[in-house]
Symmetry: C2
Subunit: 259 residues, 2 copies
């Protein structure tokens, strides 16, 4: 128990590497598709391939990197459908969070949350990545305040994956209204109005998601098969392709997709 303070971070190098990579991924220092060779990571962080490998495995389990056998790891590139699913999942989870929190926050917790919102406001006009990180932190702090490790873990994981999808699909957005919604959520929680908190949270996340997930087809690289489909019948490829690329398909409905 002699030197207790800085131990945790150095004690488990894997965790610290994971943290670094997670942050780099979400802040777009590492863009989706970037290859992550074990050697390079090991050298960069001063560890052997084993440690780098374990860190990659961990991130793969979390869905932030894609690990193909014998082909190495790269930053994940969530599909549009995955993104939609992740936000739906996140809504379900955070619904549970706020329903547990409503009316049960201590004054200290409320103060801490208001302080965090103040930080969000202060960071309003700085780098996009920072305000996104702070906005996400607000949600993860809420999850932590439930006191449930399992709930916290899953909310954290889903939030990070949502953050990754935002780097892919989101356009720059003013975070002003998001901050106001955070305040509304906190107010509802403080008053103990669970239903209102749930409703606002749902609206809030739907808002965040829709800022990002508006037009699926334009952004995403279709597979080679899909790109070639209009050319397959021997007609004029360019015109057919142009027509085909307008398919709206924003339907968020339920059709079961690919088997």
């Amino acid at each position: 128990m002699s030197k207790s303070s800085g131990k945790a971070a150095e004690n488990d190098r894997i965790s610290s590497i994971c943290d670094a990579l997670r942050q780099a991924i979400i802040e777009q220092a590492l863009k989706p598709g970037t290859k992550l060779p074990e050697d390079t990571l090991g050298e960069r962080f001063g560890v052997g391939r084993t440690i780098a490998r374990q860190a990659l495995a961990q991130l793969a389990a979390e869905g932030l990197v894609d690990h193909k056998r014998n082909k190495g790891a790269e930053v994940a590139t969530p599909s549009w459908e995955e993104a939609r699913d992740l936000f739906d999942l996140r809504m379900s989870l955070e619904r549970l969070v706020v329903s547990r929190l409503a009316g049960n926050l201590t004054p200290e917790q409320i103060a801490a949350l208001r302080q965090h919102i103040a930080k969000e406001r202060a960071a309003r006009n700085t780098r996009e990545a920072i305000s996104v990180r702070l906005a996400t932190e607000f949600h993860t702090i809420l999850a932590e305040m439930t006191g449930s490790p399992v709930l916290t873990r899953y909310v954290l994981e889903i939030c990070r994956r949502c953050g990754l999808t935002l780097t892919l699909y989101a356009r720059p957005h003013s975070s002003e209204c998001a901050i106001n919604e955070h305040i509304e959520i906190l107010d509802a929680l403080e008053k103990g109005d669970a239903q209102a908190a749930i409703r606002i949270m749902h609206h809030h996340l739907e808002e965040v998601a829709s800022r990002a997930l508006i037009s699926p087809t334009v952004v995403q690289t279709p597979s080679l098969m899909d790109m070639l489909a209009p050319y397959a019948n021997g007609g004029n490829g360019a015109r057919a392709a142009e027509a085909a690329s307008k398919s709206p398909k924003t339907g968020r409905g339920a059709k079961n997709r690919k088997k």
Copy 2:
């Protein structure tokens, strides 16, 4: 692509080991707290420690085993609070599942589900472990039918962890009503009545959970201070205590709380 069929299972030895361990854990062949030394696993499955280690890491990430630094891995022993959280989480997730499925099931899918329920019924009077596995499979099959890999993955993981908690806390139960509830859920899904499906699913899971976990709201750890409260004002302690403890009779097992 010559020898294609059996490749997947053998190609990724880690996955197959994970599957075996998962099944063993949920069917109580490996009880919570059982140590899982790397050497032993490696020898048992005919692999080196590296592979065994990776399998354990995977299961640790899934919450089925507990991995303490320098102290090895053992089958997880979820606390009562974790169990409650897991079932809450599961309700949230499956709510999402049925809301997506309601009215969108193909006739083939409905037939497959009815067939599965028939299997559940057939296994009614066999080993407990089997009927539990089949009951869980019903839920995971539903998740798969959403066509969403992420949703499927999380439902699967949570269901397994719930299964582990059931091995810890559940008393033997007649699975009859559970089967009937499965039928009700399927009927509601077929009719496209999302609200009914959600309601029945919620009731169903609450039922399953309560068979295992004694009522959540009442039991919460009374601290020593609380227990002593009736005695604090100098009056007759016994009578005051008797009056104060008129909480519901949880006929059995109010002793699950050891911090």
